[in-house]
Symmetry: D3
Subunit: 314 residues, 6 copies
């Protein structure tokens, strides 16, 4: 009897404790990795097809062939989640599902270990338990964003519309943000000083009743962001894309992040300047309510109660 | 009895076949990895101190603390090389030594495997056998460089003076270069169209008797490049740094790459245009001779004969 | 009896063999030339007024006064085409009509020939027979586009919304593209890495049913592109302008070029990556059909048969 | 007896009145032309080898093969000048010699004239009589430079280190400058706002006794500028290259242009602001004296008297 | 009895002749000042709320707290205008109302005067009589705009959506424009060469029946511009925002400025090139008529007659 | 008997309490102000001529004519300092001397006060007592610099080589820096991510024994920085200019600021990362010692004791 989650790695389901990467995998040597993150609602993967479609766009751009159709990878994903969900600590917990593909083992370095060079991509899918405790307080009080001096990598270097893992700039940017406030996250500017995104979420703001977003040019076109656009259309809330600067954001009526794991999170401050009239704002509430309805559970309550559960446990 | 090379990983020497990274190591999740490559001459590490000094500059910039002094890491390195050199297939082979440091395991994902989050950096050192067969022909005929449309990441995103592994742009750039010529390598331009470096080497050219290099602003300040500067000074060959464009390179008297594994390699063409009067050029020869003298072996012959040995064997 | 086509040059119709430019014409000395290309369908000029309006916008921007009203230049154009069409090798051939205006003779150099400096612009109109044989195969298989390292000249140097002949960057860019594939054409990026246009055509792509184009900011606002916009409106196909990058294009459902001589041409690959599900795509077909209906002949068949005719002849 | 100067065109010496370019020459169609200008002192070409070396660097960059060695082209040049100098209106006049090479006839358009496409470059050399009258007054009073809003084309589009004829930006920039002052010339800024050059000359200034120039990155490396560097070295005047802005120039001690036809010209004002303490400045004088000595005639007097001669004649 | 206008300064109404700023006020020391300008129609402030809302957006961005609510500042403003309007030279004159807020007295310098450092912002409101005579002629003949080489400060330095007084670039740009024409004003380009605004007004143009404006990204979102947008909507004239270049403007059907003091002014020329078919254009007329109707007086006539009145007086 | 310091304002010496600027002075309305700061050592102005020369360079660039020669302004300055030094609270205190010139009163606004428009520049000189207490602690512990997201204004907007007062970007940048640490100052990056300067000082660092500075292109060429260069030359310490990035600074051996009021200040940290091996560094010490010797007093002790004196007093 094995209580350990499984990992899908290069064609096989493996116990997590035995799923490793070689130290000369291209994912480590080059950071030449594309990735996706999907989550479950009630233990079912949400919008997996959209996530996989985005993954395959990244594979096409990076010229990596994985030998699996989207349908095959979807089947693997559902199987993996089904198995690992059975191990969740609590029935109201949920899983995050990670896919990543690297360019495979780096032959020169691999050679020293005596093995033959494998030149096909490394394909991995693994899950993690939603860490409610990381988000619960920020869902109530809003997150503090900071624009660091580190800038987002421009599309002519590698394109942010692909979800990739050469994320040194995110790593450095978040370090700068935490100098201002240990709980802050970086909101990166592009090379022209336009707002882009955080290391883990899209940025959205409300201006005179319209939800406004940086254009898709230099951000990840988030599936959660797409959900916001669809929910807004349904709720009759206008949506627009436009290059935005810090000036716009600090004068917004409200601002929030959208991302797969926690769906939406209100933004309380940018560079220490409070945004709008306190969090959460009315548009945020309407969107989160509509989203909750869509997925059949109260997203905010799930986070709140999940976090409480763990706090108690510890 | 163990014929397998060892790997230094997080404080321990481990047989290579047992040295892996967790799939949620930050090196894989973020590409937040700094690295070095040193090589041996006659099985002794060459300029290890310079390589480690550069590694520690990268650690300072990325705020990673590894809990090892440069002296301690040097001792580990010498020990590792000593052990693995004993396993070399031929006494005239040499080792490459890789150091890399990642930001450690990514706690959120790690949690799903039930383990506690380790927040200290992952520190690894491993070796590989110099792949002479990859270089021998290009040492004779010169390499073909191509300027791709993909541009180098600018220092305000993350600084190329640090040796890092968020190298998606290199990966994409080399793909573009190989469209022109399967044996070509990308010579990346910066955002202003200046020449920078290839994915694995510094670019140097000769103009009216002077060795000219792109400035250190947006390239890795290579240890081999530093060796070129020192040898040139000794040989009385002037050296200068200046922003260079394709026009300069195609009109150079000669051009070559410098890098740790093969030291120097002549450049035959840029974007299909032959450079100078055939390879290798006279300055290249003088530098390689001086370097060979410095390290007590004929660098070109070592590559040539090493490659021949392997061809024969296969 | 003169079987030779005529050329309109500075107010007179001249046999082609006697129509030259002085070696010190500003068109040669400075490349300070604005131009247009119109074509016939069934020997009648198509959308000549639109072409001339664009020419006069370029004249206004460059401050050149040609002493001819658009109506007068139109009359000249129709007359020239009428005369030269009579000489076409086959009744189903068509003419291309070139207009160009240079800043006139460059007085300093002209002086050496003893003539007085003419400071009025040089105005020329001439025709050529549509070279069907150049396009037929690409109409079937699609063209291969390549993004070179050479970038498009930005509007603050001289504006691409003017059709001009200072085209050194096109010349160099196409050379780079042909390194990848001798039949490829360059798709130039702007200084920020956005897609612009080829040296002879606008680039258009289809994304989720919408035709998407780079914005008019830094491309020639093509008359053929305008035709696409009109035809799309009539066919109920949405059209949008947006900054596009290589990532968008390689993930498009289909892509094609629009230009005066061959109207539309499918794009098969970008940087070696196949676009969509094979050429021609469904939107391309619908547009070409509608265009053919508009001009009263089958555009694709005309090219196909015209090319076949010439192949047979040779 | 033929008093007409000759032109070298595609292998033949032709009377100037019969030397034309086809209207579909690539020089006209694309502006894809590289060029040189050399002048005589006492009817002998000065530094022809340097000019031809620069021409061949441009040919290499543009991948044009002209089938003539530099030595052959030099012989043609000397012959042409010898013949045309005999026709000079006055023995103290001098010749300018132009070389230009275009990509040859543009086959598609050429086809319409019935001729076969010639794909070899067009090679031309022609002369003109030095127009002293254009420079005499400015040599005394200094020229007025103006920084227009039109910017210089950056090297990543096409490289200014090549002397080319896709000069639409020069044409537009000089128009803007003449709005300020009909006798002014444009001093173009690069995209970052640094001073570059005028449409016909290099810009040099004096700061605390040192001659300072924009760096060679985005200017033509003028032969006259090289002469200034050599003369300055001989005279013990320091020379330096540095990115310069308008602020530097208006605060310079003196400023001047260097170019082949008139060698040196003092700059009186930039954007209406007087530079230094009146023209010509002391360094200018020393340089012009040294240059005059070098070439064995008084350069300033030659211009002055030549202009006077023509004024009298007219 | 006091015929002198009042000034509101730091909480008090003061006679104008006694309202000064300390020489070490941050407004003078740093130019760290935000400002607004409102005007009266028939002695009533027009759209004051919009102006104050914009002022408070600037205060939030600059982190200045003035201790007055918008309502309180509005009350002060109405009071000030009521008092100063009573002193107007003629009943048909109008007032301009300036608000400005500086960062307060600069403590280090203030110390030398012996006073304690005041760290609260300086808040001032003052009025001026509309200078009709400055505008009357340009309303008839149109203004001449010139694009100078000086560029607009980009939002990543400080944001033009805030009305501020660090306007050195405006000062320098207008100097350059006046070199071309003493009555011209600068139309600044942004760093990419896009049209932005003049030092005192928004730029708008008409293209095929649509009013087109530079996007709000790097211009002040003018209240008068907003009025134009509203009037255009009412009149059924389309309005669009798009990056525009000089090429667009010289080929516009008409162009005009919008700004608080004179509402609208036709643009006659850009860089000497006439725009459209003479001023004022038809859209300009319709907008000015609608605006006049909105405010209950003939705006053009008020300027014309006001100017005439003063000319007569002088 | 008047214990109040004097101010020189527009030709007159005025008691400080009566020296104001009109609220419509261009210094306030436009920030169109150029300025200088000089200090005394032992009550004598130090390098006044250098400061005035820099002021006059700024006046030339901004086309402001003040009607005073540098000699006359120097005489005024010495007189002012002589008078105000007599009022210093303690004989070991020193004065800072400010000069500023604005474009004069802004005529439109001035009109409302009934006065005639004065179009000549406003010229002011005033003094302040050196605030030792602001610097003493940082001289011991070093200052913390932070690179904010706000970038330095580039020279093509207005040139940083001029000392000006359109300093909104400094104001905003320092606000961002103080979010990280209330005692931190901003070290602004230019638009390419290069280090420039703080709002009040030049940045210098030591790398392998050489003092390295950002190039003069986009910083104020500080008189104190010039002093460092001269002292370094005398001490045999090499000095170089080079574009520097954050990576260079955090890996420097030491770093310090140079500026008129406190001469030199060690930099302890950049973005929280300690620089070198603790402050003050050895080069800093040598420079400060040499400077102290030059001016005949112990600069560090003067600050330390001055601060102590004031602390005691309060």
């Amino acid at each position: 009897m094995n209580p350990e989650p499984l990992v899908y790695l290069n064609g096989r389901f493996t116990p997590a404790s035995q799923a490793h990467l070689a130290i000369y995998d291209a994912g480590i040597v080059l950071g030449a990795t594309v990735t996706e993150m999907t989550r479950t609602f009630r233990h079912r993967l949400w919008r997996l097809d959209d996530h996989l479609a985005r993954l395959y766009r990244a594979l096409r751009y990076t010229r990596m062939e994985i030998g699996l159709s989207p349908q095959e990878l979807a089947a693997v994903s559902h199987e993996l989640v089904k198995r690992n969900a059975a191990l969740l600590p609590h029935p109201e917990d949920e899983l995050g599902l990670i896919h990543f593909v690297t360019a495979g083992e780096f032959p020169t370095y691999a050679g020293s270990a005596g093995g033959g060079a494998r030149t096909t991509p490394t394909v991995c899918a693994h899950t993690f338990v939603m860490p409610w405790e990381l988000w619960a307080e920020k869902m109530r009080t809003g997150i503090h964003l900071v624009t660091p001096s580190i800038r987002h990598v421009p599309p002519q270097c590698y394109d942010p519309k692909m979800k990739y893992r050469s994320r040194m700039h995110y790593f450095l940017a978040d370090q700068e943000a935490r100098l201002v406030d240990p709980s802050a996250a970086a909101l990166l500017l592009d090379l022209d000083g336009n707002l882009t995104e955080t290391s883990g979420a899209n940025f959205l703001m409300v201006e005179r009743g319209t939800i406004v977003s940086p254009p898709e040019r230099n951000i990840l076109p988030g599936i959660s962001r797409a959900t916001v656009i669809e929910l807004a259309a349904r709720l009759g809330i206008p949506f627009a894309e436009r290059d935005l600067q810090v000036f716009n954001a600090v004068n917004a009526d409200e601002a929030f992040l959208s991302t797969t794991p926690y769906c939406l999170m209100p933004v309380a401050r940018l560079n220490g300047i409070p945004i709008g009239g306190g969090v959460p704002g009315p548009i945020f509430r309407r969107l989160l309510d509509a989203w909750s309805e869509e997925v059949g559970l109260d997203i905010g309550a799930q986070i709140e109660q999940g976090a409480l559960r763990r706090t108690v446990r510890h």
